[in-house]
């Protein structure tokens, strides 16, 4: 029997802050649930529960690589300012389902034994929602690009639009004038021919890598089509490698 969507964990993609750690990670977990609160009253003979607050955690395990993200992981532990994280469970093509949130690092552990590969465990909690999202832009951008519009839906009056940006590489070495601007637009149709509205603008990225968690945009927004616009400028062949996702919750 063929089970639609059943898949092995092979192409899982993970961005944490300005790092793509997929290449050093070999296990990941995003526990998600709600606290079960006892709701027993006289007259019943069976334990009864009521759901309380949602709980979310994150944990990545992999092979220790001092050159990739070690310093970044180390500095994040205990940092009161959360960093954006994006996890793509199955695949990381534009349009794929991802999960985004702003994470606080509670644990970074490096372990190893004689003649064994050194491993790391990096994990913690969220200071935002864990938002089911769609990967809207991914790749190395050499020129300005209007990414594919996708129908993600409207934002109700009780919902917010969330977005995470990870810039993992930049060609700017600090001496050029290269810039990368990423904005989020919405429209009532797939046209984006002048009637679109800018819903969010990330802070301009210049040198080095960067990551940003867009301040959530409150509904109501009746537009159902969304896209990411990447604007590249500067001399000496600028390029920026990034991933950007949008979610509504």
């Amino acid at each position: 029997m063929t089970h639609a969507g059943v898949h092995p964990l092979v192409n899982t993609k993970i961005w944490v802050a300005e790092y793509d750690i997929s290449g050093i990670t070999n296990a990941t977990a995003l526990p998600h649930g709600a606290k079960m609160l006892p709701a027993n009253v006289f007259g019943g003979n069976t334990e009864i529960f009521a759901p309380g607050l949602k709980t979310n955690e994150w944990r990545h395990v992999g092979l220790f690589d001092v050159e990739t993200a070690h310093d970044g992981f180390w500095s994040q532990v205990g940092n009161v300012t959360g960093k954006p994280m994006t996890v793509a469970p199955e695949a990381s093509d534009e349009g794929d389902t991802v999960f985004i949130g702003r994470v606080l690092a509670a644990q970074y552990e490096v372990t190893g034994s004689q003649n064994d590969l050194a491993k790391f465990t990096f994990g913690g909690r969220f200071d935002t929602e864990l938002v089911p999202s769609t990967l809207m832009a991914k790749g190395t951008y050499l020129a300005s690009t209007d990414e594919t519009a996708r129908q993600l839906g409207a934002v109700s009056v009780t919902q917010f639009m969330y977005a995470a940006l990870h810039v993992t590489d930049s060609s700017d070495e600090g001496t050029e004038d290269q810039t990368c601007n990423v904005t989020i637009e919405s429209d009532a149709t797939n046209a984006f021919s002048g009637s679109e509205t800018t819903r969010g603008t990330f802070t301009q990225v210049t040198t080095l890598a960067a990551s940003q968690w867009l301040v959530p945009v409150a509904g109501a927004i009746t537009d159902t089509w969304w896209r990411v616009v990447v604007t590249i400028a500067g001399t000496d062949t600028p390029s920026f490698t990034l991933g950007c996702s949008i979610g509504i919750l």
Binding site: T25, P31, P51
Partner: protein, 143 residues
């Protein structure tokens, strides 16, 4: 074929909030019991208990999938505060009719947890979904 002893579960029925997820489930744990309340008093040398409230939970191991109307799409919306209880049902054999040797356990539940993802490279994407009691169990043996 009706379940007989010894029985091998190969066609269990898993029903979550009006969705048959049997095709994605490969393990069910359904502990059922009663809280044991100590009632020791002076003069006895052996622990004594009395049964309190009945307790139960259901843990189903699923192959995770993000397809519409499947595991994630069905269970994720059931997690959170103020989410109303929903019906779940478990029985040993999906194909056979409900009966004395194929009872269906029907109850209302809340979902305590289901990881979005939890596994290692190269492993099957599987997740345990844990359901807690929102009411008593009804054991249906009527075909």
């Amino acid at each position: 074929m009706a379940q007989t002893y010894p029985s091998i579960w190969y066609d269990a029925y898993v029903y979550i909030n009006s969705v048959d997820l049997s095709d994605f489930a490969f393990s069910v744990a359904f502990p059922y019991g009663a809280k044991m309340l100590a009632r020791d008093t002076f003069g006895v040398t052996t622990e004594r208990f009395m049964p309190g409230l009945i307790t139960w939970s259901v843990t189903v191991q699923f192959f995770q999938t993000f397809e519409a109307a499947k595991v994630y799409a069905t269970i994720y919306p059931l997690i959170g505060p103020a989410v109303a209880a929903f019906p779940i049902a478990i029985r040993p054999n999906k194909t056979d009719a409900i009966g004395a040797t194929n009872p269906e356990f029907q109850m209302n539940a809340h979902c305590e947890s289901m990881p979005i993802i939890d596994g290692g490279h190269g492993e099957s994407a599987t997740v345990p979904a844990v359901f807690r009691s929102a009411g008593a169990i009804t054991v249906d043996t009527t075909p």
